[in-house]
Symmetry: D2
Subunit: 361 residues, 4 copies
């Protein structure tokens, strides 16, 4: 949170669509930024919108997204509605010349995501996606270590996000929880698409939507990522392991203080055509110290709000931009297709503009 | 360990083939049984065999399995050699009229396993497989709860077995570690084959064998099991979650005392054709007490040795019999095939004698 | 939080003195009660008071406690100032005919506490102390088990409350943290004074106030309680163990879900005058199941606010009344005296009205 | 374990008195040393002695300590009998010209300990005490950090050793468990006596010996150590915290891998005579990284046996010598006196030869 206001520039007007579970958190975090003002909120439930407006002294309350999008005081439209509405509202906002931040997942279809990315590009507007974890100190630290080569070659990422969660009627556990894991993986790996996605899931208790699923991302012969999401688990687990040839990381978001543990462990193998006995002796293990660096514990949404306002000011590309959101949707769509077709692996077509989709660190 | 010897019957003669890592544990545990005597050990490395013989006062030491198998003093042949030798030694032992206990996996090929099962049946001899965990108090407790219906419908089993492990030159992590998880799953589910198996794995650090793998077992539209095995992880995890409609279990083998935690948690959903709002209200969560029952902490190998001797005496079928070993090999072979063919799902043919393969509780 | 307002009775007017760290939490929790209204806040720092008033729409803002105490709209004065001011403000409030809730510790001197208790009695007003933990589901559960005899004879209570905390300039770690532990112990044991108190502490880093201390409470030859408080610890620990002859409890407030674990463990000894060998055989251990009951996780301050309003309505004695607050101050004063005199044990004179000091469960 | 034998010197003959719980561990660890030979074992229970002798091929078995002490083949007498017998056997052994290793506690009386230390000095023989933890990689690392000034000024040591333990008929929990904690504290602090000791304990379940106790060691106005020992706790805790001005350590012996965690945390206070507001601002906290160094996990008894044999060869003073054993007995005796006299603090007379009691690192 910037403590001082730069008087030479007017605050950025923020309008938030959707006042359900996540919307008020966004209002609160934009409201505390020195160079922004939440000028409008929108919810189909007028009472809900009014409550949020009262709490944060938001002047304008509307029940139709279209009204908010047309509001001249709004520079940035923040979309916190159910995923199925993201595309239409975001398109209208971009067409109306507004910058846009969309909750995850960016859209529910790849073609919709492509259209939004292209539209934002044409309009010269910011399109950002709320991959919240990308703005945590923990994930930033992992990205920095990967970039600096401190992990060596990355061999795998294993991510588990399970608990006794809220069954949704219209979205399954893959679309609900896996965007967190996939966006973390995408960010740590520097923003690139896997070659292939496969997934398996199951529906329980008469539900028509998957409440447990396993998603595998194959990035190459040596690099595998795997996600376990589950709404029907007895305990809450939020843990990502990154295995590299030089170091390994366990990121446990349930730990109150030491969330990121870096292990100076690894193995090196000198391949040989000799007999078994010889072969085994060429494997050497390394098991050294563990290190838990101090992590920036600032609230991710506060970091994100400040960062996005800065991007709007400077024209810089946000840390989680439309391209990142689109990569995640490509993976989710492939995972869903794999589930629906009996978990056969789905090959991802190379992204049309892969070069421009690299996440800035 | 039986404290008293029944004088009316002579002790059962045990011969152990393979004095490497696991063999001496088997010698020690059979040696402490009142109604057994370890009469012979065998290892191609004569020194290694001699050391074990000295420590446990074993009279006969040989370097060829064939010699041990022909030894008239031997009633039970215990095979603790590398997996690729299991079939031949076990077949010879059965042909020589000996009862057989084989380390996991039973064999490295399904046809070999089928031949052993059929041969033991024809000869009227015991064929057992060392699925060690099946003999722990923890897994027994889980089986009993499942059998008694205390878990309700079982929705999923999720098993993780990872650490910085020993790379083997001749066997991958699936054949090395997953037999533990699969035999636990098989036992808890009452001994039945999944309909379909898929798996994915990766080799690292120049190794030619997979050191990380994910295996999915589909038992039906609602019941899924999943195994994560990994030799290249920074921390040791040994954890199996069983999710049921009435209760859920976390079995954490790394916990020093409370290994099995039973959660009185669940969800029930009354499906409806109404709108979303209505639908969600019909989901009801239950989040109650957690209970960690006192578990029998007796060493599994001791329980197993006593049980197998009793089976030989009475002709009863062992808790982990040849059929159980064969089911695990079927799954491993399918998993390997899935890995080798780009992780497509492999349908398992119905077992020829499914009726007889039910594990006795 | 009561969801409905009883229209037949006017809301109770609440005035809060002190808008520092804890005050706003109290304002928020009283503000959400259906049958209360926060009508005034007070802080010597006018800005701080105004900020809180704005957030919670409190009509009256004053900077002098005397002004709030005289406010006719105020029925209950909540005192959240530094401990040294508690006595004077509470006395004035009681003299002005107001009910009073004081943060812990009730006062900094026993005679002050005695005067408040007597004054409240004379005036027929409620005097309550904010022993927050007494209003948690966890501590309530422990009290209920103790009352029901489920623990058997209580042998000891061991309480640890350590972290890298805030050094206070005017109060030491005993007066700051130990009231939590002592009020928990007092509540679980049914509200009785120990016979004897001893304590030891140390000042560090040039500070003139103790930042680490150990306090021992002797309740009888068999019953001991012990408290470790520490502002200079590398990790946060909040753990109370209750050892009974039938069952033992570990209450770990840092656990996210299973805060209270009940162990069916114990020992029974049949004393004997025989030789050592015989003596030992008469000791029998019991090590059974562990049980973590579902605990009411409602915010303690919400429970407390609702309870105190009900006490005002009905004239019932609050769960943590003036007598409870006074017992804690007696112990703190004795602990301080013990520290100051080289940790000699201090005998507590029997409380003047011990009969009336029993905490209602 | 030394892998090679130095042929130029004959092995040291070791005799072990006491074949109960701990004795066989000592036999095993001395037996595996290349330059030692266990030549005799002794136990009043002839069967027990014979069993140990058989397992480790010890040639001489006696039932009287005097016989072992007189055995010309014995160079080092290892005493693993109940504590009350330590003095007499150790004295006889020293008088017979043997080196001596005594289990903890060295003796049950200070004057006995003084006599042994003086006698060993006069005879020019090694007198060592089995403070096992002093030989762990964890405690060594802590000692090295303290010596190198990496902790800054040490402010406190807090040690907890609790579980559902074995009630002894003849020794209480202070004499049984606290020697571990006190010897760790003594070693980390460089081998010096506290100025003052106080303790409190309680007996339960009809037992005549304390099964829970708290012992406080005051080393100076700023340096405090505290020990909690308890045989009647529901869970096993083995944890020592060292708080220093520069760094803090948590040594948790129950952790399977990261036993020692070093926290770069602290506080510095610039004292001031100003008002409270100013005072607080001069306190500055530091909360940095945590580091878990790789610790030597070799079995402590193996390290100890090798070290003591080396001391016998070279005449060097062992890491835990008679003086260290005596310091621990002084503290235990003072703690017992404090318990017996209502927990008044006991001042320790300065050790007669404090200069010579410094533990070599």
């Amino acid at each position: 949170m910037s403590a001082t206001t730069n008087n030479s520039r007017p605050p950025i007007g923020v309008g938030v669509v959707g006042c359900g579970y996540w919307g008020p958190n966004l209002v609160r975090n934009f409201a505390r930024q020195a160079d922004a003002r939440v000028v409008a909120v929108c919810d189909r439930d007028a009472d809900r919108a009014a409550r949020v407006a009262r709490e944060f002294r938001v002047p304008t309350v509307v029940t139709e997204p279209a009204a908010l999008v047309r509001d001249a005081a709004v520079d940035l439209v923040v979309i916190a509605t159910p995923a199925s509405n993201h595309f239409e509202i975001a398109r209208d906002a971009l067409l109306a010349g507004k910058h846009v931040l969309v909750m995850k997942p960016l859209t529910t279809r790849v073609d919709h995501g492509e259209e939004l990315v292209a539209l934002a590009e044409r309009q010269g507007l910011m399109l950002a996606v709320d991959h919240t974890f990308v703005y945590t100190g923990a994930v930033q630290r992992m990205r920095e270590m990967a970039d600096a080569g401190e992990l060596g070659d990355i061999y795998y990422v294993d991510s588990v996000r399970i608990n006794l969660g809220l069954f949704h009627g219209d979205i399954n556990v893959v679309w609900d929880l896996a965007p967190h894991d996939i966006s973390i993986i995408d960010h740590v790996l520097g923003g690139r698409l896997p070659l292939e996605v496969s997934a398996v899931g199951a529906c329980h208790a008469g539900s028509r939507t998957e409440n447990i699923a396993y998603v595998t991302l194959r990035y190459g012969p040596e690099l595998l990522a795997h996600v376990h999401v589950n709404w029907l688990a007895p305990a809450k687990v939020r843990r990502t392991i990154v295995g590299g040839s030089r170091r390994m990381i366990i990121y446990d978001d349930m730990e109150p203080s030491e969330k990121v543990k870096i292990y100076d462990k690894g193995v090196s193998i000198a391949p040989t055509s000799g007999a078994d006995e010889v072969y085994r002796q060429l494997v050497s293990y390394r098991s050294g110290d563990m290190h838990a660096p101090r992590i920036d514990m600032r609230e991710a949404l506060d970091v994100e709000a400040e960062h996005l306002l800065e991007c709007i000011r400077t024209g810089a590309r946000p840390r989680a931009d439309g391209a990142a959101g689109l990569r995640v949707v490509r993976i989710l769509e492939a995972a869903q297709l794999s589930i629906d077709s009996g978990s056969v692996p789905i090959t991802l077509a190379p992204a049309p503009a892969a070069g421009s989709s690299v996440v800035p660190s």
